[in-house]
């Protein structure tokens, strides 16, 4: 026994001494920072960084082969410590987080009763799982088991869908690998910005329809829970102008609302958007919008309208340097100079824009493309890509003789722009506006406020055919506008000095339906009628002033145009010049604000992919919905009938009293924000739809 102890002690001492000597004798100088860096790492030896063990990772960091944020498990805290050791800026490396994209769970109906192994991958082998929905969560929690960090939980008695604890998630991607349905998605904020709706995604009908692809059920769910800042941030993932959109959007999403299928009114989605965004700004809630590390690329945006601002916002978030060049004194484009104060107060729009500029977007106002600068000077100024989002500021002709000579005939764009600039905008007592779109409605209601006594709306079809928002037409009725439908103005009547005194118009009858499905108006011969007017406003459409492409010998002359619009790829928004992109009204027929915002994000994606040298084309699974005609949804997601709906009252739009002084004579905002109480009630009407399942009011199964 004693010998054994002695031997062990002897051998131990001998080894210790020998190793000690060897450590001295074979000493190799090693960067002391390696040991320091290793102390900052998680020490899990997990291999998540791609190196064999933490010491190899530390050596790679010190050698400059790996970024300071290489350690996935340690996360930003470890990155900051390592950066301190290395004397480097940590940089806000993009955080990978996991997200559950399915809200199905127990409510999703099942095809058969599964009794096999409690594992999603095993369950998915049998007819792709028991759920009727082919892309839905199976609920056996393979992702929860795969997560090494306890960041996932699933409550079989609750909703039975995985819930991510973003505090614990390190973005290792194990859950995504374990999920046979691709529900768990581990992405950086940039990857989420670049993601376009796909037919394989789990999208509610409203979310498919929204031109900006906002995650509507998610933000309404946040409102339900009282997390207004989270709701706002959810909107900001897709739409950087929520205050403005919340006021003026004609909400195509609501037309697709599943509640409307069940003999009920749709959820007032847009009012909820306005409510939560207003709440965030009114209560000055701190909002942190993640911005990717700098890429070093610079992008020039010509035109600070909605699509330009949207593109600037998303490009900045993707890490590019962005500078907006605007020809007017203020940013906002048509929604600043076209939409009147009573619909969208300038102060509100400024708040939206300031939030975008706060991310570090540069602005230069009062410079016009083609006059003060052009493509050559932008490229010479070090810009790697240019986005043309110059809008549509020219008015279309009504084809009435002498329309640009007669005094008193004003294009609506100029009329509204004067108002927006705060210039004197004199108007007579009797005003006629031709057109049936939102611009015509704006001109009508502005005229009322400027003191016109009789305001007429002239339109060649019937009121129901007008493309303007229904609420706008209603508001015109409330404010005393008279509608003269089925008429075609043919002639201006003037006095001796060329001032307008009236117009002559022909009455129309409706003929055969045309390409848009509406019946074509045909003038009736001999039905001439005279309408005495002091002013006549043209609001029958706008087009883009792209005359700069005619200048020979300039780079910009290589751009293709079609009826004034700059031609670009509808997906990537790239034009004939590879580094020039186009989006918004100038890229096609002028459209909605929300469509311009969506186009801005697509353009940002195109520019980002172009700059980073990635594949620009959309995946073949891209979902393309025609929001205006309600076509192209994922098959089987638009129902004819729906079960389990109880009829509930839709929140009504609070507005200024019709006929009141403020309503008729000032530019005070007409539509008001919902109260918190009614917003919560309205949010509870949301069925939180997913692809096919939803939360019914009364359980149907």
């Amino acid at each position: 026994m004693v010998e054994a102890l002695l031997l062990m002690l002897g051998l131990g001492t001998l080894s210790g001494v020998l190793l000690g000597i060897a450590a001295k004798a074979f000493y190799v100088w090693e960067d002391p920072r390696i040991a320091e860096v290793e102390n900052c790492l998680a020490g899990a030896n997990c291999g998540g960084c791609g190196y064999t063990g933490c010491s190899a990772c530390a050596a790679a960091i010190v050698a400059g082969e790996a970024p300071v944020s290489a350690c996935l498990v340690g996360g930003p805290a470890s990155a900051a410590k390592v950066a301190m050791v290395m004397g480097l800026e940590a940089g806000a490396a993009e955080v990978l987080t996991s997200e559950n994209t399915c809200t199905g769970g127990h409510r999703a109906p099942e095809k058969y009763y599964y009794m096999g192994i409690s594992d999603c991958r095993a369950a998915a082998l049998l007819y792709a799982g028991a759920k009727e929905c082919t892309v839905g969560c199976l609920g056996y929690g393979s992702c929860v088991k795969a997560c090494q960090f306890g960041a996932l939980s699933i409550d079989p008695k609750g909703e039975n869908i995985p819930i991510v604890d973003t505090e614990k998630c390190v973005g290792c991607g194990a859950c995504e690998k374990a999920c046979p349905k691709g529900i768990m998605q581990v992405r950086t904020p940039s990857q989420r910005i670049l993601h376009m709706n796909l037919i394989t995604d789990r999208l509610a009908p409203c979310r498919q329809t929204c031109p900006a692809e906002i995650n509507i059920p998610k933000y309404i769910h946040h409102i339900k829970k009282g997390e207004y800042d989270q709701a706002y941030l959810t909107i900001m993932e897709r739409n950087p102008l929520p205050l403005s959109t919340g006021r003026v959007c004609p909400h195509p999403c609501e037309s697709a609302c599943r509640r409307a299928v069940g003999d009920d009114e749709p959820v007032s989605i847009n009012q909820l958007k306005r409510f939560c965004s207003d709440w965030v700004f009114d209560h000055k809630m701190p909002v942190k919008i993640p911005v990717a590390p700098d890429t070093g690329y610079r992008v020039a945006i010509v035109g600070g309208g909605p699509s330009g601002l949207s593109a600037a916002y998303f490009l900045r978030r993707l890490g590019h340097h962005v500078k907006i060049f605007e020809w007017m004194p203020d940013l906002g484009g048509m929604i600043y100079y076209g939409i009147p104060e009573y619909r969208l107060p300038k102060a509100i729009l400024h708040q939206d824009i300031q939030r975008i500029l706060d991310l570090g977007v540069e602005v230069k106002t009062g410079v016009k493309f083609g006059v003060d600068f052009d493509l050559e000077s932008l490229v010479g100024g070090g810009f790697d890509a240019v986005l043309m989002s110059i809008g549509a500021w020219n008015h279309a002709s009504a084809r009435i003789p002498d329309e640009d000579k007669v005094k008193g005939v004003i294009p609506a764009t100029i009329f509204l722009r004067r108002q927006g600039l705060g210039e004197p905008n004199p108007i007579g007592k009797r005003v006629g506006v031709i057109g049936g779109g939102n611009v015509a409605m704006d001109a009508l209601r502005t005229s009322v406020r400027l003191g016109a006594e009789k305001v007429y709306c002239l339109y060649r079809r019937e009121v129901k055919d007008m493309p303007a928002n229904k609420v706008e037409i209603e508001a015109c009725h409330h404010e005393g506008v008279e509608f003269i439908t089925l008429c075609t103005p043919t002639k201006f009547i003037t006095d001796d000095e060329g001032n307008l005194t009236g117009i002559e118009y022909l009455k129309n009858e409706l003929g055969e339906p045309d390409a848009s499905g509406r019946r074509k108006p045909v003038p009736i011969e001999g039905s001439e009628t005279v309408l005495p007017l002091d002013n006549f406003i043209l609001a029958i459409g706008q087009n883009t002033d792209s005359s700069f492409v005619q200048k020979e010998g300039t780079a910009v002359s290589r751009l293709e145009t079609y009826r004034g619009s700059i031609v670009g790829d509808p997906d990537t928004h790239q034009t004939a010049i590879s580094y020039v992109f186009t989006s918004g009204d100038c890229a096609g027929p002028p459209g909605l604000l929300v469509a311009a915002v969506g186009a801005g994000r697509r353009a940002a994606r195109g520019i980002h992919k172009y700059l980073m040298g990635e594949d620009m084309a959309f995946p073949p699974t891209r979902l393309r919905v025609d929001s205006r005609r309600m076509r192209g949804h994922i098959p089987g997601t638009i129902f004819d009938t729906i079960e389990g709906i109880q009829k509930t009252q839709r929140a009504s739009q609070p507005e200024l009293e019709p006929g009141s002084y403020e309503r008729q004579h000032t530019f005070a905002e007409v539509d008001l924000t919902l109260s918190e109480q009614s917003a919560l009630e309205e949010a509870n009407r949301c069925l939180r739809c997913c692809l096919t399942c939803y939360d019914p009011d009364v359980p149907a199964w």
Binding site: A4, L11, S15, A22, V28, G173
Partner: protein, 215 residues
């Protein structure tokens, strides 16, 4: 001479340490996903085991046997192998940095590898002479390396796990081409990774049983 050749063949094929004696299974599964790590591991085992076999044999016949201390053989061997590996690591780092870098993390990892300890104990159990112990200490790890490299070659060709889009970008172009060309087939979800690895190890073990009649 024939005796030593037979001993070597027996150690490499017939009594393969991994597939017949089932020692050292953790590195067998852990480092066989990629060929380069498998090669590194095989080299490290050959290197360490040769050293350990010699040192433990000397220790046994110089200290343990004369003093009747065979009963603490295992614990003494563990101590000696651990110290030896540390020493070798220090030595290599200074003198042969290229070899040190090649062996990488595997050198310290096999400090307590059961294959290493197993062979050292076998040498004593079989009462090998010094020369026999030397041959066996070289031949067994060669068998280990052979099995490991064969296994890694197989595992590389079976798609281990679903290749997600993010993972795909991690692969080099050569790896991508290799995967496209040599991938045998997709493995069903529940069998992926270690599960199919164990099944394959079982088949390989059956195949190696075929060497039984050689000697």
């Amino acid at each position: 001479m024939t005796h030593y050749i037979l001993l070597a063949i027996s150690a490499i094929l017939v009594n393969n340490i991994l597939l017949i004696q089932y020692l050292g299974n953790c590195p067998f599964l852990g480092t066989s996903k990629r060929m380069d790590t498998a090669t590194g591991m095989a080299m490290a085992v050959v290197f360490v085991l040769t050293m350990a076999g010699i040192v433990t044999w000397i220790l046994e016949y110089v200290f343990l046997k004369p003093f009747g201390l065979e009963y603490i053989r295992t614990i003494v061997f563990i101590l000696i192998i651990a110290a030896l590996v540390q020493f070798v690591e220090l030595f290599l780092k200074k003198s042969i940095p290229a070899l040190y870098a090649g062996l990488g993390i595997f050198l310290p990892l096999i400090t307590t590898n059961c294959a290493v300890l197993g062979v050292c104990l076998l040498n004593i159990q079989e009462e090998y002479s010094f020369l026999e112990a030397l041959v066996s200490s070289v031949a067994y790890p060669i068998g280990f390396g052979l099995a490991l490299i064969l296994f890694a070659g197989l595992r590389e060709r079976v798609l281990v796990g679903r290749v997600t889009a993010r993972r795909k970008t991690d692969l080099t172009l050569v790896e991508k081409r290799l995967r496209e060309r040599y991938t045998i087939g997709r493995v069903p979800g529940p069998l992926q990774d270690v599960a199919i690895g164990l099944v394959m190890a079982g088949f390989m073990s059956l195949a190696f049983l075929g060497f039984k009649g050689m000697i």
